[in-house]
């Protein structure tokens, strides 16, 4: 055995290991960089004005993104109203009633929809809602976001329900409880935490989406008082302000981006915390 060759193999192995570590660092670096820059450039603009004032007209500095923040919350609520019931109930069907064939088809469709670019959702709702009534509206934007949430929530709900051990269903049947009550009061409750996790993650995803809003919400500088009127939302405002040549708008774009990412990260971390107390009664 050639000792030199063996050493060469060892060196090669160490080099590769170092390279892999480097890859990992490079992959994580953008996260750190982005967060750092956001804090550096955005934090100073996060004052009360930002959260409470409406945007000022072009060229004037000052003002805030209050209407965008409230608008985002409104849209999230609308989207949830549409997306959560359909997604959860659909997931229940797949887990508790579905046949092999139908389940496969629905999961397949959901996966395709989950991989669909969000701008496609935007122009679809544009064609279906905005064009026929010739106006942009919060309803349309909420619909686009809600439709995006459906396949996301459906998949996670099904996953969580399927993990509920069958012994609980059996025990409930043996008590002479009707099937639908078993699903709602026992199975759903047992999987509750996981399902809520899925919903929160879908909400976090949808809260940061801009593309579907482009063709449905239009955006403006005012409060939205009527859901059939155009509405401003945070991601959209950030996009407009960042793409503009006004430095004050750029500054506000940083602030808006910081708020948005903090919100999204808070939801994600919250989810992580929720699942840390790992439910022992769910099958792995």
């Amino acid at each position: 055995m050639n000792p030199w060759y063996y050493h060469w193999r060892k060196i090669k192995s160490s080099c590769v290991s170092a390279l892999c570590l480097l890859c990992a660092l490079v992959v994580i670096a953008p996260l750190a960089l982005v967060l750092f820059n956001l804090l550096q450039k955005g934090a100073s603009s996060l004052d009360l004005h930002f959260f409470t004032q409406l945007p000022k007209p072009v060229g004037e500095s000052g003002g805030g993104m209050a209407n965008a923040i409230v608008g985002s919350a409104t849209l999230l609520g609308l989207a949830g109203l549409m997306g959560i019931p359909v997604g959860v109930l659909g997931g229940i069907y797949l887990s508790e009633f579905g046949s092999l064939r139908m389940n496969w088809a629905v999961r397949f469709a959901a996966d395709i929809l989950n991989g669909t670019p969000s701008i496609v959702w935007g122009i679809v709702v544009y064609a279906l809602v905005v064009l026929p009534i010739t106006r942009y509206s919060a309803y349309a934007a909420g619909l686009a976001l809600g439709l995006m949430m459906i396949p996301l929530i459906l998949r996670t709900t099904e996953e969580m329900l399927v993990m509920v051990p069958n012994s609980y269903r059996e025990a409930a049947f043996a008590l002479g409880i009707p099937h639908w009550k078993i699903v709602l009061h026992i199975v759903l409750k047992t999987a509750g935490r996981g399902i809520i996790t899925g919903i929160l993650l879908a909400a976090a995803r949808v809260a940061g989406e801009t593309a579907p809003l482009l063709f449905t919400a239009l955006g403006n500088d005012y409060w939205n008082h009527n859901l059939s009127d155009p509405i401003e939302a945070l991601p959209h405002k950030i996009f407009i302000y960042a793409s503009s040549p006004f430095s004050d708008w750029n500054r506000q774009a940083w602030a808006g981006a910081l708020v948005l990412i903090l919100f999204v990260l808070a939801l994600n971390i919250g989810v992580r915390v929720m699942t840390r107390g790992r439910t022992p009664h769910l099958a792995k």
Binding site: L31, Y93, M163, F239
Partner: protein, 325 residues
């Protein structure tokens, strides 16, 4: 008969007045949930149909020439998607080219090399990277990444590789290459996560056998893990590609919005998605609107095909997701 079943209680304590269950509850609930599940199928059909209907005008007017012409001329009513098809594929493939090795290296590190206490925090951080909204990355791209690229690497590229058509153009920084870098950052998490799953699926017995033969760490990884996982790696790459193809906002913000095809990566361009996004402020009708829908239709087709291929490769077509993905 039913009544007798309810009331007949021989030799038992005084009967309880429990309401008879009735079949209605079960039937209604089952129907309701079935409807909701069917909605997903209906939604897919609706998306496809809406785009087809919207692009009908453009499809009939331009036919296949839509795909091979690169003029986008609303004034003269002449539309061709070649620029955007080119932009989409170049930026996505380039992003994949950048991201795939990094992701695989990271996945190898996380599954094979990392000490236990590093693993979970690293995974969490990568998942947080995935959660960054596209527009936020776009902001960072416009004000941090592009200026840095424009002042540092790009002039170097021009200086040393400017003889290549790939790098022959003045660099404002808002170009296809910048978009590719941003897309790469966005697809790193998904490729890493799938690759990790694929590597973890390799049974430990394989690794142990290789170790027992006296292989070094790298040789074990190469022989036992990577060779086993080729199909899965392809699948991960495909999923990343699918994600890359649909990336909209970050791309729109740094790609420079040009409708001309250029061989140079340092010149501005557009992808299918960014073109649609850039048109949003226009009030469109008739042919221009239909052309836009056709762009959307192409985007949909391309992402659907890629996603199906990806799921086939990782054996997850219509299957349940693995927990922890």
């Amino acid at each position: 008969m039913n009544a007798a079943i309810v009331s007949g209680k021989t030799g038992s304590p005084a009967g309880l007045a429990l309401a008879p269950p009735g079949k209605a509850g079960d039937k209604v609930f089952r129907l309701l949930t079935w409807l909701m599940a069917m909605m997903v199928l209906a939604l897919l059909a609706l998306v496809g149909w809406t785009l087809c209907r919207g692009s009908a005008l453009s499809l009939t007017k331009f036919g296949w020439s839509f795909c091979v012409h690169s003029d986008w001329d609303p004034v003269n009513g002449d539309f061709g998607a070649l620029t955007f098809i080119y932009g989409t594929f170049v930026s996505s493939l380039l992003a994949l080219f950048i991201a795939l090795p990094l992701s695989l290296g990271t996945a190898v590190y996380l599954t094979e090399l990392a000490p236990g206490w590093v693993r979970q925090p690293a995974i969490s951080m990568i998942e947080m990277l995935a959660a960054i909204p596209s527009v936020v990355l776009g902001v960072w791209g416009i004000f941090v990444m592009v200026p840095w690229l424009r002042d540092g690497p790009y002039p170097l590229l021009l200086k040393y590789f400017g003889f290549l058509p790939l790098f022959r153009s003045p660099a404002t920084g808002f170009c296809i290459l910048s978009a590719s870098v941003l897309i790469a950052i966005m697809i790193l998490p998904i490729i890493t996560s799938i690759a990790r799953e694929v590597f973890r699926a390799v049974p430990d017995a394989q690794r142990e056998a290789a170790f027992a033969l006296g292989a070094t760490r790298w040789e074990v990884t190469r022989l036992a893990v990577l060779r086993y996982s080729v199909r899965g790696i392809f699948g991960a790459a495909m999923l990343g590609l699918g994600r890359a193809l649909g990336e909209t906002m970050a791309v729109t913000m740094v790609i420079g919005n040009s409708d001309k095809i250029s061989a140079s990566l340092l010149s501005p361009g557009n992808t299918l998605a960014s073109k649609i996004a850039n048109e949003y402020a226009e009030t469109l009708k008739g042919i221009p609107l239909s052309a836009l829908f056709e762009l959307g239709l192409m985007l949909l087709l391309v992402t659907v095909v890629t996603n199906i291929l990806a799921h086939l490769l990782i054996g997850a077509l219509g299957a349940r997701q693995r927990p922890g993905t």
